[in-house]
Symmetry: D2
Subunit: 343 residues, 4 copies
């Protein structure tokens, strides 16, 4: 088996999660998220947030995005997103399938710019057009960049000025939070957004995203939307157990830190080799540009994603580390990389 740097959801779950599951195996729990594990997990998360929020545990990111967006928007209201946004590219049209247009803009380094939001609002001015109503950003972004507090405040201010909702996709919020670029904490996200989610799947959980509803308008009948979109698990306590564990003893941050530290190590080592980077990422995803010959040789030894074609000779690849990455594997990888380079 080749060692995989393909993504951060290759391993089933952190051992502590499995432990809790084994321990709970003989319990009888109420279905559909109305169980005691859900209560406990919510309490643990709520400790990080000073506002009164509603928390829903969902199975995946597409589901979380699709349900939240269609729950809060009228069908003539649209989403503003950066072009590379997950909802815009990698969700098979899930948001549109529920009836909403995504207005997409180039952004910069994977981040949406406040002025793009303003432009969008000003252009959409009559009933022949959709009404931009919800701003969608991801943190960390699809390109591994991390928003600063200043950047999110700038977006939030535009949202408030134009009466837009701000929704933050946090599939990799853990990795963002432990990045050295970061100056936000979970409570800041609750203060600055109308809703966001805390990704579990990419940070050691077997399954799950914890959706945090901040805006009181979002809360009513939300469980109806979950059910209608096929997002309500009979054994909802399965997802809750993941968060119960992740938010005990800081496991959530410990796992993310391991992933990002591994990513930084990989970056430093690659920089030493003079490798060209597609973008400057400070989390557990590194995008490097290599020639196609090296790519082929590397790919025989390691699994990873070819991100995009650069030109006839070069491609960008994405190397992802995770909570489960063995640091030795990185050194192994670098050794092989140098060999290929020097061959």
């Amino acid at each position: 088996m080749k060692y995989s740097f393909r993504n951060d959801y290759s391993e089933l779950a952190h051992p502590k999660i499995l432990e809790l599951m084994i321990k709970s195996a003989n319990e009888q729990n109420i279905g559909y998220g109305l169980d005691v594990h859900s209560d406990r997990a919510k309490s643990l998360i709520e400790k990080h947030i000073k506002r009164k929020v509603d928390i829903h545990f969902l199975a995946g990111g597409t589901s979380a995005n699709k349900i939240l967006i269609s729950h809060v928007l009228k069908s003539y209201e649209a989403v503003i997103s950066v072009e590379s946004g997950h909802i815009n590219v990698h969700e098979a049209g899930a948001v549109e399938a529920n009836g909403h247009k995504i207005l997409y803009y180039p952004g910069k380094n994977g981040k949406l710019l406040p002025e793009e939001i303003v432009d969008s609002v000003l252009i959409h001015c009559d009933e022949h057009m959709v009404i931009p109503k919800l701003v969608y950003i991801s943190n960390a972004t699809e390109l591994g960049t991390v928003y600063t507090k200043e950047e999110i405040i700038a977006i939030k201010e535009v949202c408030e000025k134009y009466n837009l909702y701000l929704f933050i996709d946090g599939a990799r919020i853990a990795q963002a939070l432990v990045s050295h670029e970061n100056d936000l904490d979970l409570n800041d996200f609750a203060e600055l957004s109308d809703a966001f989610y805390i990704g579990g799947t990419k940070n050691g959980a077997m399954i799950g995203e914890a959706l945090i509803l901040v805006n009181p308008l979002f809360k009513k009948n939300f469980r109806n939307s979950i059910k209608q979109n096929g997002g309500m698990l009979a054994k909802g306590y399965l997802v809750a157990m993941q968060y119960e564990c992740l938010f005990t003893d800081n496991l959530f941050y410990v796992l993310a830190k391991h992933a990002v530290d591994a990513g930084m190590l990989l970056r430093d080592e690659l920089q030493k080799e003079g490798v060209e980077f597609l973008i400057d990422s400070n989390i557990n995803m590194q995008f490097i540009i290599i020639n196609n010959e090296w790519l082929k040789k590397l790919n025989k030894l390691y699994d990873f994603e070819v991100w995009k074609r650069i030109d006839n000779n070069k491609s960008a690849i994405r190397l992802v580390t995770s909570w489960a990455t063995d640091i030795k594997a990185i050194h192994e990888f670098m050794k092989d990389f140098r060999e290929i380079k020097n061959a």
Copy 2:
């Protein structure tokens, strides 16, 4: 804690499933159902089916119903269902949210009647009406009844005559298969339907329904529909592991038999007490009619669902046994029941 007869998904998962998960915890698996566990689980299921089918592992029943139906129908095509059908009552409008009308009929004992299908087709005769195109039945039904082969063949013949698809919701297909009323096997379902699913959640799995696509027309781009509906799990191998285990050493049937045997024991014991039944069910769900005083007392000791009001004094309650039901708990329950009755 009160012992619960509320449903068959109160316990996390059968120990053998947890064992496999622990054993696999250090593996790196490809995401989105393209992993080796998915391959293995598919092979194990395919052994029971003589036709070439596509198998997709999904997270839940609503998701399976919603995705299959909207994948195969045009928006002006409608579903025919019995009034008590899960899609018609308990999925929060999931099928309609994806654009399709459900035409519902009274049926008999929770089963749809072939003549109701014929009527539906004949009435819907011009472009001002929807076109009935897919027949949805559940086996076992919502009321715990089980279709015979003869009954399903009669429905299938109507479907063929009028060019309709037949889709079978198998959330409790395991319990149906081991019921003494049953004269079908998994291959029969593949022969007689265009698609059906093999429920895991209610038969010992932590999560999952295995959707079997028989009709070649259904297979194209099905994964796009899964993704678009938020049904594609990053760690798809989690669901696959459930089926890998359930379809090893007949565990699937062993668990269902335990659940149904427990149901039959409960029924026999209640019959001895002269209890009135709402319907004659031969699976792991028993619906009994008791007076509200007894109900209150029983409910202090046991957890169960109040199914429906009968009159001012009486209600029907649903008692569900499962793969995890302790036979001792049934005897305990009966002892308490007799005490309440004789008080």
Copy 3:
């Protein structure tokens, strides 16, 4: 050409409407319903209504129903309708295509019963089910019956008690208003409903339904919903002109009275012949039951709709009179009918 009793929209438009159109042919008007004819037509209608309402001119009934319902409901909210309701049977699934379930009940004589609404609300009690939120009735109904004020008040009271909207499909409201059973006026409909429409197409207009939004919650961004559903005509003034004319010199009532008088004449004459009626209708639609031999012979001379099969020998047919019906044609029809009967 056979004389047609098929429906009340066989003739293009009343001559006065054509006159206004010819007179206006050289004007330049603003598009999309922002023109002076729209203003005038709204003023004329508003004179009949004491509340502050919004009025939108739409092209057809399906469009009006679909747009209103999907504008005001969340996708998990459902419509309550009588089984024979136009939206439930004759709109090709238009409401479901926009994501909403229709909960349908048998009703009586084409009218929804208040107790059916109560039942529906009480049954739909948790997030696994849709939430009934809008009651849809038609006046006159599909079967030609007319609601009394008492009946509509009874429905309205249930709606208020359970926080439901009441929407009245008025495709044939003109015919209802002039029926001898009627004790309501246009203002009553505004007082008793959240929205209703005043049908033009079936009462002398070339095209158009005037949708009256009473509930302030319905008004916001309604034009966006019209546009998104393809219901906004570039030459909106075309529809407005119809209403400008219909609401001048009581033409609206004059035309409806002619249609209903013709219907009553037809009914009286048929009753004299001892004909069996399917239902007691006091508007311009009469449903009679005749044997299939007579039906065939009549159909060679006149055009009408075969409404439903009664048994092997008999069918119900629908005879519709209109603002344009020539009274002589009714006498001619009766003469032919008697000849067939006495042959």
Copy 4:
């Protein structure tokens, strides 16, 4: 009243159309487009097309686009459009409301480029993304440009290579056909597209777009889609009469030619004044850039649309001529323009 150059649908209808309507006012016609006028209008259009096509008369362009696109696509299939495309900007999200993503590209002069289509297809390569399936172009475009036969063939070839449908929005196809840039006829559009429509509303009709279905796959149950989308008029013969008239004695071309001739006159006169044009348009829409002072003064005398802001001092305005434009009004306009300019 100010003379209006706002659009080409300010006047009700050409007198010949009104004549036919008056002549037909006493007829009884079958509803829903099954009448003799529809048959006649279809025959007249079919004379221009050598293939066997289906023709449906619809009320408006948004309706035509929305119905065609959602009828032929699965929900995970997407539309490729130029960014300025009518469906992308000016239909309030109608296509997305029916579940489909629009992938939009910059294009050139309002025209989509074949290489943009190729890029779109190549990028969308797995089930996490939508599948581009239908190419939407308008002719004339929103910016008044006209595709050459060579350009459309280039697009068609890409469509055939990648198994995409080509759909042409012909709201202003008449104006394109008579433009001096044009080298196509109606039959060419049938040869080169899977479907297109022949706009009536902007070329003298009171209402209507004639949708031509060329691809046999599109034809099945199309009337169900029309009905479900609220696009089926009870008095369908009203729209048919428009086309019966437009396609008699070449009225369709005569009216378009008048509109375009007027546009060319206006362009020539403005060019003489040294006015700057936003784009080179050869149809009945001229986009000129003027300073805001002139704009204000002109707007006191004439009605027109302010198309876009150029900078703090200048704006682009759109001047539209039509079949009804009085040539004297153009000379009047130029006189006033010169006065403002020379003031």
